[in-house]
């Protein structure tokens, strides 16, 4: 579905160095990226801001011409055959809208049918399916400008799917969404990937997106692929621990000796306890029950190693080799 070989993209940046003098400097956004995505895969593409994610996405969709290397998407050269490719892929940008701001949502869909030249019957069928699964009927007749972010994103995803793309590229699709909206969207995308076999490539800062959707994760930083593999393996490899934060009703002695807990830290004289545990050894739910048996619990929360942490560790791990 996607073949990328030694892909590179540099940007020319002009910097003021004197009153009239300006120096020309080349900045590499993507240095040398190679990967392959097969049909039906779901791949999470992550990395910190400025790592080169969006640049890669833009080259995959043909918006940006690579300065070096080779890209093939659906067997096409994206920048040369942009229009043809556009008919075969769907793109969702979490921070941008492809809907017509002033028009009711359904009219955007109808317009897209004409732009993508989709057969009316097939279009109606897919729209009905998305409407059902994403609950669009409540606001289908509402102008896009009046939709909430969660509603709009559901509309965006639908808009990207009406021409039955083989590949759906999502650039931070869950950004800014509340938990329920995120979950709903993830569920839908997982279903899409599983039942229709639509290939998914998504960039995100939310590890849960990857966890729910992608069997494979690619980590990029400084324009290079740092790691590529099943998420569970990568996370296990670099940061196998989660932390349960427990706020107790009364200060207590450190809650040592719970199964699966690697270390215990206390704060506020034992009022707050941070239990690090291995995800393969126990679950947060089991741990909460055990804690509640030992002391009255006021509040709990679970801290995941955040994506920056994972990337940082991957980076630290790789740097001696590089």
């Amino acid at each position: 579905m996607i073949e990328v070989e030694d892909l590179g993209r540099t940007f020319v940046v002009r910097r003021k160095t004197g009153l009239l003098r300006r120096s020309r400097e080349e900045v590499a956004a993507v240095t040398s990226v190679s990967f392959r995505v097969d049909a039906g895969e779901a791949v999470g593409y992550i990395g910190p801001n400025g790592a080169g994610k969006s640049t890669t996405i833009k080259m995959l969709t043909g918006i940006l011409v690579p300065t070096s290397g080779r890209v093939r998407v659906c067997g096409l050269d994206p920048s040369r055959q942009r229009t043809e490719l556009a008919k075969r892929i769907g793109v969702v940008f979490g921070q941008r809208s492809q809907l017509w701001w002033d028009l009711p949502l359904v009219e955007s869909f109808e317009l897209l049918r004409h732009i993508y030249r989709v057969d009316p019957a097939a279009h109606a069928r897919r729209l009905a399916e998305c409407t059902e699964l994403l609950g669009l009927h409540e606001f289908a007749a509402t102008p896009v400008r009046q939709l909430s972010l969660g509603q709009r994103m559901r509309g965006e995803v639908t808009a990207a799917l009406l021409h039955a793309p083989e590949l759906l590229v999502l650039d931070e699709p869950t950004i800014g969404l509340d938990l329920e909206s995120k979950e709903r969207l993830r569920e839908f995308l997982a279903e899409l990937n599983a039942s229709r076999g639509t290939t998914l490539v998504l960039t995100t800062h939310d590890l849960d997106d990857i966890e729910r959707l992608c069997r494979r994760m690619m980590v990029i930083d400084h324009g290079q692929v740092l790691a590529d593999g099943p998420l569970a393996e990568l996370r296990e490899e670099v940061s196998p621990e989660r932390t349960l934060v427990v706020d107790l009703e009364r200060p207590a002695a450190p809650l040592d000796g719970l199964p699966g807990v690697v270390s215990v830290r206390t704060e506020a004289g034992g009022l707050r306890q941070l239990l690090s545990f291995r995800r393969d050894a126990t679950t947060a739910a089991r741990l909460i029950t055990l804690v509640a048996d030992r002391a009255p619990v006021h509040d709990v929360s679970v801290i995941e190693p955040d994506i920056d942490e994972v990337v940082k560790r991957l980076y630290q791990r790789r740097s001696p080799v590089a």
Partner: protein
């Protein structure tokens, strides 16, 4: 091919509906146009009063009044300046969405603008014209065929105006902020097109020079066609030439922009 035309027709329809959403804004805009029309008439009438009637630059008073109302109506149809939609989309990077669609962006924007112009013809052109025709001395064409020529001329004026606005917007790809160039156009464009005073008031060397630019084709030409001043065929040919040139230029620049320039934003 049919589907292709259908696509752009739908985009034009969407353009119409987009602008039809904001009726109060249209009403307020029309009111402003009418007020300015009255001001222009009082100023231009003074010119005729001062020289005791007759004609100035081939326009008599009735033709001048007709010119004012047609101009006030055409102003929003042609839209010299207006929403900097594409500029903003390029600057913020939203243009990536436009570029990931299987369409020709230039043609899509033209279609949308024609849809907008169609709405403006009803909401913004007809009212000032009706006021002018009912309450003022007004020069109707002597031949109904002229109305058809006028419609064609107004259409070409929109295409020319859209072509220029498209090129100005595309400059954002290189300049990152088009406010300088579009500011210049804002100041000069409409005047050179004949919005403030008829171009035939200009000295003859200036009129000749303007014929080498697309500007008269955006406003003066349709008005001249309507009031039957000069040869309609020549006016239309000049407009058609510029419409084609600007459309082709837009396509060429768009292609270069897409291939050469960074799309903004993460």
């Amino acid at each position: 091919m049919c589907a292709l035309i259908g696509c752009y027709l739908r985009i034009a329809l969407a353009g119409f509906r987009r602008y039809a959403t904001y009726r109060q804004a249209a009403l307020a805009g029309t009111a402003t146009n009418v007020v300015f029309g009255l001001i222009k008439i009082s100023i231009l009438s003074a010119v005729y009063a001062a020289q005791g009637g007759g004609s100035v630059g081939g326009y008599d008073l009735t033709m001048t009044i007709t010119y004012v109302w047609l101009g006030q109506g055409l102003l929003s149809v042609v839209q010299f300046w207006g929403d900097a939609d594409l500029d903003t989309r390029i600057r913020t990077g939203d243009v990536v969405i436009d570029l990931t669609r299987p369409w020709n962006l230039g043609m899509a924007l033209l279609a949308e603008d024609l849809g907008r112009a169609a709405f403006a013809s009803l909401a913004r052109f007809v009212p000032p014209l009706a006021i002018g025709a009912l309450l003022f001395p007004f020069r109707w064409p002597t031949d109904p065929a002229v109305l058809a020529f006028f419609a064609l001329s107004a259409l070409l004026a929109v295409v020319i105006s859209q072509g220029i606005r498209f090129l100005l917007s595309l400059s954002t790809f290189w300049l990152l902020d088009p406010r300088g160039v579009s500011g210049l156009y804002r100041v000069g464009g409409a005047t050179l097109a004949g919005l403030e005073i008829p171009l035939n008031y200009f000295p003859s060397w200036a009129q000749t020079a303007l014929w080498f630019t697309p500007f008269p084709g955006m406003m003066q030409s349709p008005i001249d066609v309507f009031v039957q001043h000069g040869s309609a065929a020549a006016l239309l040919a000049h407009q058609a030439l510029w419409a084609v040139l600007l459309t082709v230029a837009g396509q060429v620049v768009l292609r270069r922009a897409v291939h050469k320039v960074v799309v903004q934003g993460g």
